[in-house]
Amino acid sequence: MFSQYFGNYLLNTNMVTAEQLKDVLALQKSVHVKLGVLALNLGYMNSMQVQEVHQQQMKQDKRFGEIAIELGYLTEQQLLTLLSSQKQGHLQLSQALIDKKYLTLTELENALISYKNDCQLTNEQLELLKQGNIDKIVPAFLDFGDQARSNIYNNYTALLLKNIVRLLDESPFLKKETLPDKYSGEWLVCQEILGEYHLYTSIAADKKTILNLASKFAGEQFTELDEMAKASITEFLNVHNGVFLVNMSNQNIELQMNPQEIYPNINIEKNNGTYIIPIYLTQGKVYLIISNNRFY
């Protein structure tokens, strides 16, 4: 998950090209994360110290950890932590960027710092993002105002991101940005949730994106947004909302939902309590529009 967030940041800030990002995202799964990148990532060493150890490694047949301890850059405990976390997936993007020489260690270090600063993430939030803890990271990207609404909207958004991964095999991510005030688009798939919380939930996107997501959910390629493709995208929202209802039910909050609907050519103006949230995908984006007022 961190790869999508950080990778997109590198692309938007022109630190890597689209081709380079595509290249490293493909490569990252097979990359073995080296201790230098790990130490940098955890803040145990700076890039100068890592480079110094690499220099020493060219001169003597010793492991990275041994030299770093000898030079006083790492404690034995820190080395153990590094070794145990060497398999963590979120570091593979960083390692792939270094291996491909798209970024130097210093550039990577600076990019991580500026990503954290630009997204106004605390150290803890950055760590949660690296760990892939989507439930806890959504509040760092979205502000839903009052506490009661925040809890439910954050839960809903986090679950949607997870279901996009689980059910559509996509890699969604949020950006730190001002949310749009209105949305005009080709298709709106919506479903009303009733009970203790009254929610109007929807996903909106252009035809191409809807077709892509409908194809992924159904496991068959749709080229036209025909009745079967519409049935697929609406069923995705229905299944997602069903899981949301079950989650809420497990917290002793019983909700119900009405049948899902789909509308073409929609214009939505944000009103109080309506949130239009862009969710970025590998190709295109989908908008989550959630409100306690009917907006469609």
């Binding site: 159904a218 609406t234 069903g242 079950v246 809420m248 039910s249 119900q256």
Partner: protein
């Protein structure tokens, strides 16, 4: 062994869900498969064709799955109803079981969940 043909009714408002369920059930060797997109249509099919098993969604327009289940009990139709819904909340589970549902499958389903239950019903009924 019953000489009667084993008949299954699928009731879901989603055309995609009906298509996917139909494929699974046909692959399991069931030839007589009926389809309905809401409870009202389903009740007419039950009356006319007397299917042995029904896979029933809950959230549907016109007549939802819980209302349909209540009608089935009221009319004393001899059909085993498997609820298959995305909305497996405690309320829905409790109501469905109280109203006599045979089983409850939460969407998204696994193919084996459906075939295992169907095999069990077929064995019980001697089909």
């Amino acid at each position: 062994m019953s000489s009667e043909q084993f008949k299954v009714l699928l009731c879901d408002d989603s055309m995609l869900v009906r298509k996917q369920l139909k494929e699974i059930i046909a692959d399991a060797g069931v030839n007589a498969i009926f389809e309905a997109s809401n409870g009202k249509e389903a009740l007419l099919i039950i009356e006319e064709h007397k299917p042995h098993v029904m896979l029933l969604d809950i959230v549907m327009p016109i007549m939802n799955g819980i209302e349909t289940l209540k009608e089935i009990r009221k009319n004393n139709y001899k059909i085993k109803v498997i609820m298959i819904s995305s909305s497996g909340t405690q309320t829905h589970l409790k109501t469905a079981l109280e109203e006599g549902a045979y089983d409850f499958i939460q969407k998204p389903w696994k193919e084996t969940q459906i075939t295992t239950i169907l095999d069990r019903i077929r064995q019980e009924g001697g089909f």
